[in-house]
């Protein structure tokens, strides 16, 4: 639940106010943003602030309705009903966070409709019951508009039941602060890493599907904290994960050499 310190999140704009206002109004929230820009961390921080438990579901393309709602399992000779994560959140009044919602099959996301609009109900046809969402239930979905394939898009009927919050990589000063804090490295290292990240983000033409996110910069910083040189850390944590192509890897290594002192 929500013990311990608040998850570290630095707001860039008004996203915290929007989130809390939407939550209090019982509106569902759609988070848009590139991978590794802090969507999940943001939801964690919000759940902490609002003092609600958080149920996270990472969506994948074989995610079915039953995976969310629940299913009958066989135990010995009997069937037992097992709640899915969404049902659990509805019963407990938790914040349910569906990460990368577009990855889920389109027929799956329809189950969210009665929950996401004014009804705030969840019919479970296998049990023949309709659950009313417990007070405090909140639905948050996220997706990365750049990452999805051309076939995958959020249904408009789903979209329009949501309040959208757009996140992006923080501006450099903020990102330096985040990298320094998260990785526990000094400011100079963070500045170099962020500068490299910014340069790589210019490179969308190069056959990289995704760019260096705040997350990989933090990972590189943590390696530096373990005593690796900044070049080795950047090679392992930034260049390696971004591509498998030897040509592009070599180019990234060259960039790392140029940007890291």
């Amino acid at each position: 639940m929500t013990q311990g310190a608040r998850p570290y999140y630095v707001p860039v704009g008004k996203e915290e106010q929007v989130f809390k206002a939407a939550y209090r109004q019982g509106l569902s929230i759609l988070l848009k943003g590139p991978t590794g820009c802090g969507k999940t961390r943001f939801v964690e921080a919000m759940a902490y602030d609002l003092d609600r438990p958080l149920v996270t579901v990472a969506c994948h393309d074989d995610l079915t309705t039953a995976d969310l709602v629940g299913r009958f399992l066989l135990q010995g000779g009997d069937t037992t009903w097992v709640d899915g994560p969404l049902t659990r959140a509805v019963r407990d009044g938790a914040i349910c966070y569906l990460d990368e919602i577009v990855e889920a099959r389109q027929d799956t996301t329809v189950v969210l409709h009665p929950l996401a609009d004014h009804r705030r109900q969840m019919p479970i046809d296998r049990l023949g019951v309709t659950l009313d969402a417990a007070p405090g239930f909140g639905l948050v979905v996220s997706y990365n508009p750049g990452y999805q394939s051309v076939l995958k898009d959020l249904k408009d009927s789903t979209r329009q039941r949501m309040v959208a919050i757009e996140l992006d990589f923080p501006p450099s000063e903020l990102e330096e602060k985040v990298v320094a804090h998260e990785a526990g490295v000094d400011h100079g290292t963070a500045v170099q890493l962020v500068r490299l990240g910014q340069a790589i983000r210019q490179l969308e033409t190069a056959g990289l599907r995704e760019v260096a996110s705040t997350r990989v910069l933090v990972a590189a910083g943590r390696l530096v904290g373990e005593g690796l040189t900044i070049r080795d850390a950047a090679r392992a944590a930034v260049a390696g994960p971004l591509t498998d192509d030897p040509l592009i890897t070599a180019g990234l290594f060259e960039m790392i050499d140029a940007y890291m002192e």
Binding site: G146, Q198, G207, R209
Partner: protein, 578 residues
């Protein structure tokens, strides 16, 4: 790294240069002691210098590109005045570098002279200062030089930076028209929207790659080499590939047709000038593939293609006796219970699951074997050979994935002699004889694309046997036939495509190794359904997105047609009951 640019090749700086320039640029050697310069697509640097100096020269030239310093309008007055160009560079170089300050490596930042950079705030201002009598020193040696004429003549001359906040993540653009709108639009709007929207999002990596590929397949600036090769492999494709199932749909093969008699078909042709069809205008002959003595093509490596096509055209299928699933498979559960009670180890798979496993796609590949394809293309290899091996690789990959594939070659000599040669019909096995037949083609004659598309669509309609159908044209350009000149031919081909798409057949076109002619094909097929690539190896990078978008738009069109047909039916019923 074992492969890739060698340690001292200038190409290793390509990514660095692209990052600073904010777009894809190439890096090449300028020769010993030559100053660095750029033609707008490639930056030439002196590779004999120290790596640090190379990076600095590179950063200057890349910043010039990014800062819009090399715009055609600015460079025109510099074309014949090298001393003015030098004065311009000495101030504009600093200004451009300063504009990119936040993104430069530390070693480069020391080059910037803020005092000079501060004198100008735009390329135009720099030019004005350079043209004035103001005192200006020579640019530092590492600035290299500006070669206005080379930039002006380069096809991909510099464009001004249009990105206000360069360091932000650029989300790929959404599809131009959301499906819900498309559904309700009229036919005309449908075509407009689908034909000209980018299949993969203009802002995205693949979108830009495609855009680069479109510009000029042989220019050095057409994207960095390697951009076309897949940099990521899809987990899903590899997972599906080993467990594919061959389509169960059975095609209606015309029985009793003697295998060796050429079959003739007539098709109308669209007369774009008069705005009407010419009925029964073209005669298409399905001639028999001659048993050739030619050496068969080598068996293509289909793995990369299979990866990018693996998830295409699959349908949900209800599978019994799964280890996990949405529902309990009652039969299996009872059996398992009985077995357990009887004392034997029960089978654990007692669930029903919906898995996306059933292949539901038929593809007809139309290969252009007209004379124009015999011209040499990329790297001196005839376009025809590029296309042949691409056709082999595509059909092989799709066949191995369990899709229904046919491969027809086409050429024509006038409207009464449009020849389509079935290299592989839907019913044929994919075997060595297919490759041999393919190897035997020599390019010749002309192209009457419209008739070929109509026949291909008819074959797909008749023999395809699946709900999802794709017509893939491999052609190097819209060559002409007797009485089938450019505008007329384009109009007819576009019409033929619209007819096919109306029947739910996705249509797309690939030009491999071809040069200039691809522009006409792009007009006919629409940018969303045409890709021009330099080499067959780039195929896997583009086909996935192209196929998907073609299938999707065909599906939308088919649905909107069905809906309209239903509405019409209902109106008729209502009228008759009223």
């Amino acid at each position: 790294m074992s492969i890739g640019p060698s340690a001292d090749s200038p190409a290793r700086f390509r990514l660095l240069a692209s990052a600073i320039a904010g777009r894809s640029v190439d890096v090449a050697a300028a020769g010993a002691d030559a100053p660095a310069w750029t033609d707008g697509a490639t930056i030439f640097i002196d590779t004999t210098r120290h790596a640090d100096e190379q990076i600095r020269s590179l950063a200057v030239q890349a910043s010039l590109l990014e800062g819009g310093s090399l715009d055609a309008a600015l460079l025109a007055p510099l074309a014949r005045r090298p001393s003015l160009a030098r004065r311009y560079l000495s101030i504009e170089g600093h200004r451009a570098l300063a504009g990119r300050h936040g993104l430069l490596p530390l070693s480069v930042r020391s080059v910037v002279d803020d005092a000079i950079a501060g004198r100008s705030d735009s390329p135009a201002a720099s030019l004005a200062i350079a043209m004035s009598a103001a005192e200006l020193g020579d640019p530092p040696a590492i600035f290299g030089m500006i070669r206005p004429r080379q930039v002006l003549s380069s096809a991909s001359a510099c464009r001004p930076a249009d990105d206000g906040v360069p360091a932000r993540h650029a989300p790929r653009t959404e599809p131009a028209v959301p499906p819900a709108v498309l559904d309700d639009e009229e036919e005309g709007a449908l075509e407009g929207a689908d034909l000209f929207s980018s299949p993969v999002g203009g802002g995205g990596g693949i979108g830009r790659l495609l855009k680069n590929l479109f510009t000029d397949s042989r220019s050095p600036g057409s994207g960095p080499p390697g951009a076309g090769s897949p940099t990521r492999t899809s987990r899903r494709a590899t997972r599906v590939a080993p467990s594919h199932a061959v389509s169960t749909a059975v095609a209606r093969i015309p029985e009793g047709t003697p295998a060796f008699a050429p079959r003739r078909f007539t098709y109308p042709e669209w007369d774009g000038i008069r705005g009407r069809y010419r009925p029964a205008w073209c005669t298409v002959t399905e001639s028999v593939p001659r048993p050739e003595d030619a050496a068969p093509l080598p068996v293509p490596d289909t793995l990369p293609l299979r990866r990018s096509l693996g998830r295409l055209g699959t349908e949900l299928e209800r599978r019994h006796r799964q280890l996990q699933g949405d529902d309990v498979d009652i039969d299996a559960a009872v059996e398992a219970r009985v077995e357990a009670l009887a004392g034997s180890a029960p089978d654990e798979g007692v669930y029903l699951d919906n898995l996306r496993r059933r292949r539901d796609l038929s593809v007809l590949v139309l290969l252009d074997v007209s004379g124009s394809a015999g011209l040499p293309g990329a790297m001196g290899v005839p376009v025809h050979e590029h296309q042949r091996s691409a056709a082999a690789a595509l059909s092989m990959a799709l066949f191995e994935l369990g899709d229904r594939v046919a491969l027809y070659a086409f050429r024509s000599q006038g409207r009464s002699a449009v020849h389509l040669v079935p290299v592989k019909r839907f019913a044929d096995q994919m075997d060595a004889s297919v490759l041999q037949r393919l190897g035997g083609f020599a390019p010749g004659a002309y192209t009457r694309l419209g008739a070929a598309i109509r026949h291909g669509a008819a074959v797909l309609e008749g023999d395809g046997g699946t709900a999802r159908r794709l017509l893939v044209v491999l052609s190097d350009g819209l060559a002409y036939d007797h009485g089938y000149e450019s505008a007329y031919g384009e109009a007819d081909a576009r019409r033929a495509l619209a007819e096919a798409r109306r029947h739910g057949i996705g249509c797309l076109c690939l030009s491999i190794g071809a040069g200039a002619d691809a522009a006409a094909l792009r007009r006919v097929f629409g940018t969303a359904a045409h890709a021009s690539i330099a080499r067959g190896e780039h195929l896997p990078a583009v086909v996935g997105a192209l196929f998907r978008s073609a299938l999707r738009s065909a599906e939308l069109r088919r649905r909107s047609w069905q809906r309209r047909a239903r509405t019409k039916e209902r109106l008729v019923v209502e009228r008759s009951t009223a």
